[in-house]
Symmetry: none
Subunit: 200 residues, 4 copies
DNA sequence: TTGTAAACGAGACGGTACGTCTCGTCTTAAT
DNA sequence: ATTAAGACGAGACGTACCGTCTCGTTTACAA
């Protein structure tokens, strides 16, 4: 391990680092497979083979740990960005379909709900969730909106966040409250309506 | 009693009804004024001057009690329905402004966040929240959409829930994640864009 | 029942009396068959098919009910008195053997232990137990001791209670603390030693 | 504490040991000053400044805790043994007088009654009480009886437990059921009679 | 007969203690 | 010196009984 950390100091794997990684993985796994109230610091520590004190030394509470874990996961999953074929509707449709697919995955569904719970309960965690989980997504959309705006496809007076919300909020809302079936067709319709609203 | 109950059927009668009312009020008050994790069954019972067993006799868990309390409050607040002046944009703008105002009230904000937490944590409570809190709202919008549809102001192929989400979801999303300022101007813009999207 | 009460008006069997009898029987039965902490007022009421208020209307607490029940049972069992053949040792031996036999009966064992618990916990109940359960026994022994004293078989300066305790206490002690086997042989030895101690 | 732990490193005074001691002391104090039903695990934990879980971690129920506390107290009180002046009656009289004095102390009276209650309610605790509280006393008497037996002062065929019961049971019985005044005179008389019974 | 009043069964009520669980801190022993 | 392990104080959980209180209903006696 010493050799390893000397060779690649940007990816140290000391005892501490192993503990950190184990904790993040355990949090993700438990949040994905258990009802959220059972995702306790105790359970995470046990699953990770890590002392509870080690968790509290690094994260002030479960929410921070979870946000960190999800951010870590998203960073690893390396969002590839939004396609740009010139056809805004088609591009957004593709994106929303993959969003819908993700939300249909029970693990990710549970994880995201856990994240929302923490964000709702504590304003500070809410800010962290926004910054580390949603902001990157918004930034990706902002890039595509910039192109579309330059091509005169959308109203220049609509901000990036507003446009993002126009597209994402209905899906998020339906996912969260289960007001109806959340499938590709719904995503397609949302994009269609959003683009009509955004048209110059 | 007969006269009484005929005149004011909502008036509580007997120890049981008094306990029920006290519990609902206490739940509302605590959820409005304390961080949600401190809104425990114990605290609600103490505040209501009610035994814990009485709470558990009526509601299987805190979530059910909270949903009941909010539904009760909403029923009492007697939603007046959505205005119908013939001008859809103006009517929806008025409604969204009052929604924004409500969400700005710290008490209602806290209450609604608590409700969302419960809905996210437990699917069953989620269904209850949808049915008892959101469905009535959707129904009000549906009435107004029906008129607008009849007047040829909105696309007949868009369902009530979809139209509702188009209008409400962005506001809900911004409220929940604090992606930006949530004021009348934002509500107005959301309505404007939604109506463009809904136009035939 | 009408016939019954008309025939024997001195033993009316109205609802009240039936409730009283049912409560006493239920208390005896439960105390005999369940661990004492499970012999709750709730359980007695349920077993007796009687409202809890009816119990509390007649007896201030479980202890009083239990004492009443045991006294009632003893009255019914109609202690026949201590035999008097002229041979004190033989008479007491016979009595102690039957005492040992009674204590060996699991039901009566449990009942008597419950009684002792109540007596130990509350001085008032202790007095009631003494008066209603033990005093009658002491009186029976006192009669036999009087005869023996008159016959010059025991020391006239020893009081009835003291003599009673000399005979009963060792058995009671062994029964209560299980310091050793409690059988006829032990009872016989106790009587032998007691009579030596009591001899003039 | 430093000195203490340096002198007796085998008796560390970490958090655990402090909790244990505090619990035992609190149990003794509460049992001595409150009616037994109020000596709850909750009250003991509060008085000891200890979590309830800590109590249940060490003792399965209140009875075990109480027995441990009394045994602990007795060990500390270091029974000095029964005097041996050669005069059995005198020696036993002295012992019984101190027993009577102890039983007259309200604190010890309450404690011992609590112990008896637990012993009566649960056979397991009864065995524990016998072994840890009464057995040591019996052993002390056995030593004295051995001497007396060797001196030909008592019948060699009477066992230690039987002799012990002959002496102690009447006092215990009178204390428990309050069949009469329990004073030195009574103790003296009991010893006198017991020694007559035990004489060869 | 037909009220009327008491006692009844049933069981909900406000409480309290139960024994269990998780929290976040602190101690210990072993790397 | 930092870790895994886990005991600790605190306090909420959901349950069981407490002793009291409302309920209608049933019974017993008076009109």
């Amino acid at each position: 391990m010493d050799d390893d950390s000397r060779d690649r100091p940007s990816a140290p794997v000391g005892r501490s680092e192993r503990a950190r990684t184990a904790a993040l993985s355990a949090a993700l796994a438990l949040a994905a497979e258990l009802p959220y109230p059972q995702v306790t610091m105790e359970a995470i520590a046990a699953r990770a083979g890590v002392g509870k004190a080690t968790l509290y030394r690094r994260w002030p509470h479960r929410g921070a740990l979870l946000v960190d874990a999800v951010a870590h996961r998203n960073a690893a999953a390396a969002g590839s960005g939004i396609p740009d074929t010139g056809d805004l509707v088609a591009d957004l449709t593709a994106v929303l379909r993959s969003v819908v697919d993700e939300l249909a995955d029970p693990g990710w569904d549970a994880l995201l709900r856990a994240l929302c719970v923490e964000a709702l309960v504590d304003t500070g965690i809410g800010a962290q969730v926004l910054e580390q989980v949603f902001a990157p997504q918004i930034a990706l959309f902002a890039d595509r909106f910039a192109t579309a705006r330059a091509a005169g496809q959308i109203d220049g007076s609509v901000g990036d966040v507003e446009a993002f919300e126009l597209v994402i909020a209905p899906v998020f809302h339906r996912w969260q409250l289960r007001t109806g079936v959340l499938d590709h067709a719904y995503g397609d319709a949302v994009v269609r309506r959003a683009c009509r609203a955004l048209a110059p």
